[in-house]
């Protein structure tokens, strides 16, 4: 029982394990391959189906198409996620660059707790890292877009109410959005700045404002996630990341990474994929296991 959960979560080389599993076809669907370039999608009208509250219907399973969650800027096997500035680099203030480089220098042999990637401790993925981690699901309800990630969830409020007060800081931040045609526009505040962007120490500070634009293609088959970060305490200028995202359906082959679903038990009916429970901290085996203070198995709260 526990061992099966361990397999789900992966220890250590989870990416390699998933790649190995994915290499053995488990069904008849189309095998997903990573992209090294992707199309731009224009903002405009939404020609597709709408939900009862008028939202474009974009419900379903999604994943980024570039497959690199370790490094936000390395153009080696995927384009840099940074699309502005044009050099693809994050425009850190000197102090912040020094901190990021200090993390990189200590990542392989972390002698202090701050050199462990928070995600390796099962922390929520945060904004925007969650979009380059495992595949995720979008569910929509009147007044909400709910994003279910592998590590944490986000409920984007569409009701026009204000953000939480500034002092309330959260791993997955506070999201207030609206639809403009084919584009979901979200203002993200209240991030605690603790979730990182990959395994290279890249981070966004706790007083950042992130403006997200989820631009959906007319056929609903993909969207581009475009996020502009404004955080003068940490960066010399606002900067923008773009992440291409593809929709996955029953035509695609589950791969336990980008499209992590199983066939529902529905005898005599067409194939239907569904998501299964994800746990992490409960398994006491985050992939930072063995590093300083990981895993931790004592009481955390006194309430």
């Amino acid at each position: 029982m526990r061992s099966k959960i361990t397999v789900w979560l992966g220890l250590g080389l989870v990416a390699l394990a998933a790649a190995a599993m994915a290499a053995e076809p488990t069904g008849t669907g189309q095998r997903f391959t990573r992209e090294i370039s992707f199309p731009l999608i224009a903002e405009g009208k939404w020609p597709g189906r709408q939900l009862r509250d008028g939202q474009p219907d974009v419900e379903g399973f999604y994943s980024n198409t570039i497959g690199n969650h370790s490094n936000w800027t390395n153009p080696g096997r995927a384009p840099s996620r940074v699309t502005d500035p044009a050099d693809g680099q994050i425009p850190y203030q000197p102090w912040a660059r020094a901190k990021q480089e200090e993390f990189v220098a200590n990542f392989d042999n972390p002698t202090r707790p701050e050199y462990i990637e928070p995600l390796a401790r099962c922390a929520p993925g945060g904004v925007p890292k969650s979009f380059v981690w495992h595949g995720f699901e979008i569910r929509q309800f009147p007044g909400y877009v709910v994003l279910l990630f592998d590590s944490g969830s986000r409920a984007i409020h569409l009701d026009g109410k204000p953000h939480l007060p500034d002092k309330v800081k959260l791993w997955n931040a506070d999201s207030r959005g609206r639809w403009e045609g084919n584009t979901l526009v979200v203002e993200v505040r209240n991030s605690n700045g603790k979730a990182q962007l990959g395994r290279k120490g890249d981070f966004i500070g706790p007083n950042a404002v992130i403006n997200e634009r989820y631009i959906f293609a007319p056929d609903g088959g993909r969207f581009n996630y475009v996020a502009t970060v404004t955080d003068p305490e940490t960066f010399t200028r606002p900067w923008t990341s773009t992440i291409p995202v593809k929709r996955f359906t029953e035509k695609d082959e589950p791969d336990n990474w980008n499209y992590w679903v199983v066939p529902a038990n529905l005898p005599g009916k067409p194939l239907l994929h569904e998501h299964v429970e994800r746990i992490c901290v409960e398994n006491n085996g985050p992939f930072g296991g063995g590093a300083v203070g990981v895993p931790f198995d004592g009481p955390v709260i006194a309430r």
Binding site: I5, W95, V168, G293
Partner: protein
Amino acid sequence: MKTFYNCFAGTLRTATLVVMLAVTPAVPAFAADDIPRLPSGRPDFSGIWQTNSPADYDLEPHAGRRDAPPGAGVIEGGFIPYLPAALEQRQRNFERRAELDPRLKCWVLGVPRSVYYPAPFQIFQRDRDLTLLHQFGHQVRTIHTNGTLHPVDQEQGFFLGDSRGHWEGDTLVVDVVDFIDIPWLDRAGNHHSDKLHVLERWKYLDNNTIEYRATLEDPKAYSRPWTLQVDLQRNRDPNAQLIEDYCFTLEYEQYYPPKKD
């Protein structure tokens, strides 16, 4: 004139009441047509819910103690019909509850505990499913109502089990199987095995109250099935919203983010 008017109004009221009594069948005082419904006509449980019950302190009747207010218990018949070995386990759990309760690590609370744990959860509902997003920890539970069955492999050992629901009139009936034996049922060390099977019944008592019943069957832990019942109240505070409370992060979050020297 005034007296006459009052008498007249009173007569009207009496007459109306008599007519209502005459045409109203013997049902409770709420009107089923008033509850929120989806366009499909099914009851719509969307909203933020939490129980006022002290169930999470101890499901069984108990006097007040250092770490729990008193409670009359929420179990039909009062007590959990443990098998002898499971009762001994409960006693050991109780003695070490201040260190062993999985809630203290902010782990997924399981079913049914997540429903009566004293923190809000938000139900998002579509015809095909209900999404229960819990404020405490990171648990998200899907109750499928699309006709799908439990997976063929029922030894996957989920913290939340596998939930398949159907409607019996306006009652949502949910069958939950395939658990791991780690979650507790409350802060008093009540527990179950990996053979737990839960049958839940969710129904509106009025627009802002859900009656929640759960029958627990577990041949490795209990001598017979038993049932608990709590009410869930809708949170109608002006600022009501879920605020993430991952809290298993508290042990290490002081190490992030990097700070300017």
